[in-house]
Amino acid sequence: MTETPETPARSWLTRLAIYGPLLLFAVFVVFVGSQLGRETRVTVTSKLIGQPMPAVNLPGLGGAPGLTSADFKTGKPVLVNVFASWCIPCRVEAPQLARLTAMGVTVNGIAVRDAPDDVAAFLKTNGNPFTRVGLDKTGQTQITLGSSGVPETFVIDGRGIIRYQHIGEIRPEHIALLMAKLTEAGR
């Protein structure tokens, strides 16, 4: 390096300009490195997890009993499925709900912003897995539940506490997860 001239005295500012990028990058690497393997949250959960179920008092279908808060204080964990006849993914999850019922799970339904006739037709076509169905004509109950869309499924323990929220349709691979959540809620 014979052609290198005598390095003149450099101000701290010049040093910062020269070493700054390297330092900044070193901080970045340490930061990212410390973050690897941390789980990323993928779902937005209801604020009501761990909270008691809000008061529910919904009329039923064609004279059948509706859904009330009493249905969630039976001592046995249950599923609440928020659905609607106009919701296409709700049809997709019907076989999974049927399988859960067949496994001995109690599933209650809340039909959101729906007409009774449409709900009846929907249940006739896709099967009725529900022990109780409540008609939430205004969507008010759905909002108090902290649910933003259909379908969604909640795990409620025997004392009426919301334990888990499943957003979107239940696909076959979700059944094991829901069963585990139900078992956990039953303890």
Partner: protein, 645 residues
């Protein structure tokens, strides 16, 4: 069999990358350095050929739906249209890394075939740097994420591809973006080679300029395509979300924009030596960080392919070696690179320095905005989100002086500029800028100061840029000037589109029965029908909307609510009617259960200008690239004189 050949070709390509990396450093017993150095070019060409074969064989596996290949089984489906079978090749982690290597190898081949004004040894050094970078990614692919892995038992059907990604805009968006990202690796390799050889100067700047322009144009094109895709696919008419993944592509673009301007200063005035080198290093570093951030699963968004931490660690080590190494070399050598020449503040180079500072500040603002939420989340203060309000309040104001200067800069000469004629030249753009702002205020009823400034600036820049070309013979105007004018004009277009669509958008949300009508911005739309339709791997409800204006039928829109079957997913397909002065954008929502359908319709004025501007910018870059850069005479001086001056 073809897949195994592809796998073998990838190993062979890695071997050639190794040769390419070592070539300029080897010494034959008789110190016949030339012979070894000369191997770099054929090695780069062989590597490009072999990677193309490897990539081709993966394309073949996707095209023929060979589900015995794990990657195909996980990401494809027989029912997918051919275009999306092919785009499925890079719509996943392994395939996109293979695409990255392919683009890198093609860039290396381009360096091998292009003129090398700095000599064969310098070219071999550039190729060596490229080989070293490529080797890391080969190791990553072959050891940690082999795209050619087979399954012991082949499934009869594949898993499909995220329906949001099944779109022509997105099929070509990643390759374009990668061409830009990886194109910047050439500038990076040039910078490292220049530091090693102590050849930072005008000749170097002139040699690196076309590569920077090519990468910049491709990156701009890729970002434009991505933004356009978001606009018509995500179903609410937004085109830029300040999503961390979008920012990851914007940051290298900002660095490349600053770089191509500082390269011009270095080539003409031999100033900004260290700064230019640093920008070249930072540009590609941000590209790699961008790719890494997307691939690591560190950020979860529609773009991210979630990946296990071991792969993330591998990529992080690669980044630390490459970027850290280059920055260390920069720090060690920067103090020995002689400071270039000084210059007058009011001059072309003075304006370009101001441009660089503003772009760097913008880059910093985007970087902080993207990193801050992650940092806060980790510190446990609770998740926060830094959204458009932050970026609009910080990035926006920085762009105001930038655009003001963009109009002035081209009228300044290199060296101390005469300013006496400047006022006269800028009078017309200034007047028209005020006129457009007043027009927007009076006729379009715009009251927001920020929007009025946006209108004024777009007219200011557009007219001033046209004034550069005014009175010149088109065919005697240098291509570089044409390129610059086009690029600046593109910025004016984009700015106008952003301002107008932001300030003048009209929105309508209605529930309509069949036969009912609604009106937005003077357009009447009548819901004629809603009927089911089916595609290759989806079913949908499709509305028929008759659009008319003043009683005259104009067009028919068909927005769809789609349900993809593999994998199961709801998407909205917006129906868009594009006019030069705006878009009608219609989305079909849910039925309300009583025979009415929810419709969401926007009138977005001049929104197409945003992407037209982006493409015009890229076109300007491409045109400029083909121009022969004229380095200052001092380029011919011996190397030592430049460094030690």
């Amino acid at each position: 069999m073809i897949v195994e050949l592809g796998h073998a070709a990838l190993w062979l390509a890695a071997a050639f990358a190794l040769l390419q990396a070592l070539a300029p450093w080897l010494r034959a017993p008789a110190d016949d350095a030339e012979r070894w150095t000369g191997l770099a070019v054929p090695a780069a060409l062989a590597q490009a050929l072999l990677v193309s074969l490897a990539f081709g064989s993966l394309v073949w596996a996707f095209a023929t739906s060979d589900f015995s290949v794990k990657l195909v089984a996980e990401n494809s489906h027989t029912m997918k249209p051919m275009l999306y079978k092919l785009s499925g090749v890079w719509g996943n982690h392994e395939g996109s890394m293979l695409l990255w290597i392919l683009v890198m190898a093609v860039a290396g081949a381009a360096v091998s075939l292009a003129d090398s004004p700095l000599g064969d040894r310098f070219r071999a050094l550039v190729l060596s740097m490229q080989g070293i970078i490529a080797l890391g990614f080969y190791a990553f692919l072959l050891a940690a994420s082999n795209p050619f892995a087979r399954l012991a038992i082949a499934p009869t059907q594949g898993n499909g591809l995220n329906p949001l990604l099944q779109d022509p805009g997105l099929a070509f968006h990643p390759p374009m973006l990668y061409a830009g990202y990886v194109g910047l690796s050439v500038a990076f390799a040039f910078a490292v080679a220049a530091l090693l050889e102590r050849r930072v100067g005008p000749a170097w700047a002139a040699a690196v300029r076309p590569w920077v322009l090519a990468a910049w144009a491709a990156l701009g094109c890729g970002i434009t395509l991505g933004s356009w895709w978001a606009y018509y696919e995500l179903g609410w008419g937004g085109y830029w979300f300040w999503d961390p993944v979008e920012n990851a592509s914007l940051m290298p673009w900002l660095a490349a924009t600053a770089l191509l301007h500082s390269v011009a200063v270095l080539a003409k005035r031999d100033a900004l030596r260290n700064w230019t080198i640093l920008l070249a290093v930072v540009g590609f570093s941000l590209s790699m960080i961008g790719t890494f951030v997307v691939r690591s699963g560190l950020l979860t968004s529609v773009h991210a392919f979630a990946v296990d931490p071991a792969r993330g660690a591998f990529l992080l080590v690669l980044l630390a070696l490459y970027i850290g190494g280059a920055l260390l070399l920069y720090a060690l050598r920067a103090s020995t690179v002689a400071v270039g020449e000084g210059f007058a503040p009011v001059s072309r180079e003075g304006a370009l320095v101001a441009n660089n500072l503003l772009l760097a500040a913008g880059l910093g603002v985007v970087f902080v905005g993207s990193g801050y939420p992650l940092l806060v989340d980790v510190l446990g203060v609770g998740p926060i989100s830094v959204g458009p309000p932050y970026f609009n309040a910080t990035f926006g104001p920085l762009m105001i002086p930038l655009v003001l200067l963009m109009a002035v800069g081209p009228f300044l000469t290199w060296g101390a500029a005469r300013t006496d004629k400047l006022a006269r030249k800028l009078a017309v753009p200034g007047l028209l800028a005020v006129a457009l702002a007043l027009y927007a205020f009076a006729v379009w009823d715009v009251r927001a100061a920020f929007s009025l400034i946006g209108f004024a600036l777009s007219a200011w820049l557009g007219v001033a840029t046209l004034a550069i070309l005014w009175g010149r013979m088109p065919w005697r105007t240098p291509r570089a000037t044409w390129g610059m004018a086009l690029a600046h004009l593109g910025v004016a277009f984009t700015l106008f589109g952003i301002t107008a669509s932001g300030a003048l958008t009209r929105e309508l949300l209605v529930n309509l029965r069949l036969g009912e009508s609604a009106e937005v911005a003077g357009y009447t739309m009548k819901l004629v029908d809603v009927a089911p339709v089916a595609g290759a791997n989806w079913t949908a409800l499709e509305a028929t909307l008759d659009v008319s204006r003043g009683g005259q039928p104009l067009t028919v829109l068909h927005p769809q609510a789609r349900l993809y079957t593999s994998p199961m997913m709801d998407t909205t397909e917006a129906a868009i009617h594009t006019r030069i002065n705006g878009d009608l954008y219609a989305v079909l929502g849910k039925p309300d259960g009583s025979g009415r359908w929810q419709l969401h319709v926007w009138w977005k004025p001049f929104v197409i200008w945003i992407w037209a501007g982006g493409l015009i910018m890229a076109l300007g870059g491409a045109l400029s690239m083909t121009a022969r850069a004229s380095a200052r005479r001092s380029a011919a001086q011996p190397v030592g004189a430049l460094v030690a001056a």
